[in-house]
Amino acid sequence: MADAELPEKKRRRIEDLTEKMAVDGGYDWDGRWNHVRKFLERPGPFAHPDFEPCTESLQFLLEMCKILVIGAGGLGCELLKNLALSGFRLIHVVDMDTIDISNLNRQFLFRPKDVGRPKAEVAADFINNRIPGCKVVPHYKKIQDFDESFYRQFHIIVCGLDSIIARRWMNGMLISLLSYEDGVLDPSSIIPLIDGGTEGFKGNSRVILPGMTACIDCTLELYPPQINFPMCTIASMPRLPEHCIEYARILLWPKEKPFGETSLDGDNPEHIQWVFKKSIERAAEFHITGVTYRLTQGVVKRIIPAVASTNAVIAAACSLEVFKIASSAYIPLNNYLVFNDVDGLYTYTFEAERKENCSACSQVPQNLQFPPSAKLQEVLEYLMENASLQMKSPAITTTLEGKNKTLYLQSVKSIEERTKPNLCKTLTELGLSDGQELAVADVTTPQTVLFKLNFTT
C-alpha cells in the first residue's frame, strides 16, 4: 500500500468508527450518558447539600453550561477531552500559540500535519469532529485580548497555563467581576476558577471561588520567583554547560547577528544549531563538559520537562472539579491538591487560606513603608522583589495637585525616557506626602493596585 494512500484510508476508517457510534437524527444514542446520569439522577450521602437529583441536570450540562478552558497545550488538550466526554458541550478555548513539533509527544489532539497551525483551532476541530454534539469554540488570542464582557458569560473557568503571570491576570480579571452590595459579596457574580499546573512529575490542582476562598495571589509564596543566572557568571566565569548556552544566547547572538536582524527563534533548528556550536566553543575555553543539542534547546526555550501522564492526572482532577461544581453532585475540592509521582504516588490535599491583606482580592489598601528620603528606585525594586507582590514591570502613577502624574512607566519608550530621572529622586523631592495613594499597574493584574504610602522615620 502506497504511503500516500495510508493517511486517507486511516482518516476514513476513523470517521467510520466515530459515525457508527451516532444514532440517526441525534447525538445522544441510548446509554451514551449513563455514567454521568448516575451522579445527576441519584441521591447520595456525599452530595452537596444543595444537590437535587433530577433528569434536568443532564440537560443543563449538555445545553446550557458554558465552560472556558484557558490553554490548549498539555493540560488544555486533556481538559477539553475530559469535559467533552463528561457531557459539556458549550466550551470555549483560548490559546495564543501555534503547534510545535515538540508538542506532539503529549498534546494528543495534534498531528504532524498540524504543525504551525493555532493550537486552539486544531484542538476545537479535533474535539468537534470526534465527539458528536460537542461545540468547542476556539480563540487564537491572548487572554488579555478579552475584557469583562467576554469572561462574564461563563459558568466556570478552568486554566491549564504554563505562566504565573497569565494565571495572576486571569485571577485579577475574575476578582474585578465581583460585585458587592453594602459590603456583601453578591454570590451570582462569582465565577469559579479551577487552576491546574504541572512540572515534570509534579502537579497541582486548585479550586478558587474569587472573593470567597484563597486566590492565586493569596498563595504567591508557593510560586518562588524563577532564578536567572547572574550576568557576571555568564559573562566571565561560567561553570556549568547552561552558563555557556546563556552566553551564546544573551551575549553572542545580539553581537554577531548570525541571521541578520532576526531575533533568536527557539523553534528554528538552524538558530539552535548556531547557539549549540557557539556554546561548545565557550565550554571548551573553560574545560566545561556537558553541552548537548537537547540541553541547548531546553535552555533557549526554557523548556520545563513535561510528561503526558502528569498532565493527564492533573487535568483529570481539574475536570472532575468542573463537573462537581456544575452539577453539585459532590462537594468540590476544598481547595488545593498537590501531586508527585517521583517515588510511588503522593498526594496532599489542604485548604489554602486567604491572605488578609492580599494585593489582589482583599480590598484592603496595600501599605508601602518607606522613609521620605528613600528613592523611587527603592519602591520600584520592592514592588518587583517582594515575595507577595512579584510584579514584573510596574507603572506607578499618583495624583498631585489634582492632576494625574506618571512617576515611572517602563513599557512605552518615550514615557520611560521622560520618567527615568524620577527613579533617582527621593519621595519628598517628587512631592509625595505621608498617606499618599499610588496606583500601580502591571502585567500581573488587569486592574491597578492601590497602595498607601506610609512614611517611616
Binding site: K38, F39, N105, F108, V115, R239, V342, G344
Partner: protein, 516 residues
Amino acid sequence: MLFMVTYMPTLCCRLWGDHGQDTLENAHVCLINATATGTEILKNLVLPGIGAFTIVDGHTVTGEDNRAQAATELLQELNSHVSGNFVEESPEKLLDNNPDFFHRFTIVIAVQLPESTSLRLGSVLWSASIPFLVCKTYGLIGYMRLVVQEHTVIESHPDSALEDLRLDKPFAEFKNHLQSFDLESMNKKDHSHTPWIIIIAKYLEKWLSEHNYKPPQNYKEKEAFRQLIRDGIRKNENGVPEDEENFEEAIKNVNTALNQTKIPSAVEELFNSEQCNNINSESSSFWVMLRAVKDFVHSEGNRDLPVRGTIPDMIADSQKFINLQNVYRTKAMQDAAAVSTHVQRLLQSLGKPPDVIPDNDIKLFCKNASFLRVVRCRSLAEEYGVDSVNKDEITSCMDNPDSEMVFYLILRGVERFYQQHSRYPGVYNYQVEDDISKLKLCVNSVMQEYNLNVNIKDDYVHEFCRFGASEPHTVAAFIGGSAAQEAIKIISHQFVPFNNTFIYNAMLQTSATLQL
C-alpha cells in the same frame, strides 16, 4: 522540513534520558480491556513512545466492531512509530487455552477485571516473573495494584538528595588539592571566588586542630564555627566586611556540609539481603554490582560507598570550580574502577565473560549507590489468602473509619456481590435501594472470612451502590495517567514504583498507598 522529520524520532523525554527512552521503545505492553481507563493508560504510553502494545479484549462496541480493534486503530494514530496489535479474545479464554501467550510482554496491565480472572492471571505472571498492574475505576474510586516479585532501581532520582562531599572524611586527593589554597595570602579576587567547599574544609581544619580533632557537635558549636568563617570575610580600609557571596554560601551550607558520611540504611539492608550474599549464575547484574560495591566498601572504600563525583554549582571562578569538580570526578572514577575489578572477579567466579556488565553500567551504578532501591510486592495469592492476608495493615488503617482502606474493603465486597449475583450493585436506578443491604452482607461476609473486625460505615456502602459500576471519564483519566507512569517506571527501571495498592478517592481528591 527534512531536519524536522529526522529529528522527530529522537524527541524523547529529558526526564528519563536516552537509555530510559530505549527501554520504552523496546517494550511490549499488554492491555486487557480497552475501556475508558484502559485506553487512557495506553494513550499515555503511546505518546511518550512505547515500542509496541497488544490489546486483549473480547467485548464488542456497538455495531460489528470489536472494542480491541477500534481502540488499536485510534491509538496508533497518536504515534506512527508504535506497533499496535489486538486479540479479540477474553483473557479467561487465553488463560484456558494458551497462558504462555502472556510471556512475551514486558508488563501486563489489566483493567476492570473480575476477581477470579485477576487471581488466575496473577498466578501465571508471578511464575513467569512478569510485572502485573491491576487497575479499576469504580464510580469515584480509583484502584491500582502492582504485582512484581523483585524490581530493582538504580536511578531512583530522589527529589532531595544530600551531596556527597566527604568533608568529614576528606580523601587524600582532596586534602592535597586543599593545600594549594592559602586563604590568608590570596588576593581579593581569588578570595571572593574560592568555592565554599574549600572554605569550609579550610576552616574545619583550623577548628579540628583547636578542638582536639572533634568536629562541631551541637548548635552552639556550629554557630561558633559559622562565626569563625564569618570572621574570615575580608574587610575594607574602614573595617567594614566586603561583599563576599562565596563566604555567605559557606556559612549557609555549614549544617549540611558537617553531616556524617555514612551508608544509608536502605543500602545497608540491601547489603544484608539474601540476593547480595548469595551470588550465583542466576543473579542479575544489579546484584552482582551491589555485591561488588559491598566488597569495595569492606576493602578500598574504607567502609564508605564509592564517591559520587558531583558537586553543586557555587560562586567561584571557572578554573577553581572546574578543578575542584575534577578532584571529585577523578576520585569517583578511581572508586568505580575498583568496583569494576570486584565485578570482574565475581563474573569470573561465575564463569561469565567480563563484558556481560559494561563499564558504563558500573559507573552509573556507583554514581547512584546511595539511592539504590528494590521494590518487592506481595503476590495476589498472598493478599487474598486467608492465612496470609495483611490483617495488621487493614485494622490499623481502619482505626480511622474514613481511611481510604474502606474503599478497598468495599471493592472486595463488590467482587463478592458479582460472584453471587452475576452483576454489579446498583447498575439500574430501581436496584440501588435494595442492593445496599445486599452489598453490606457481601462486605461483611468477606470481613468474616478473614476474621477482620472493622467498622464499615453504611454511607460508603450506599455510595458504592450509587456508583452503579460506572466508569466516569475523569476518574478513568486520573488512573490512566497514574498507571501509565507506574508502567513507565517498571519498564525503564527509573524512579520508584508504588508498593503495592493505590487508592484514589475522587470525592475528596485524596489518595493512599497501602501494603496488602
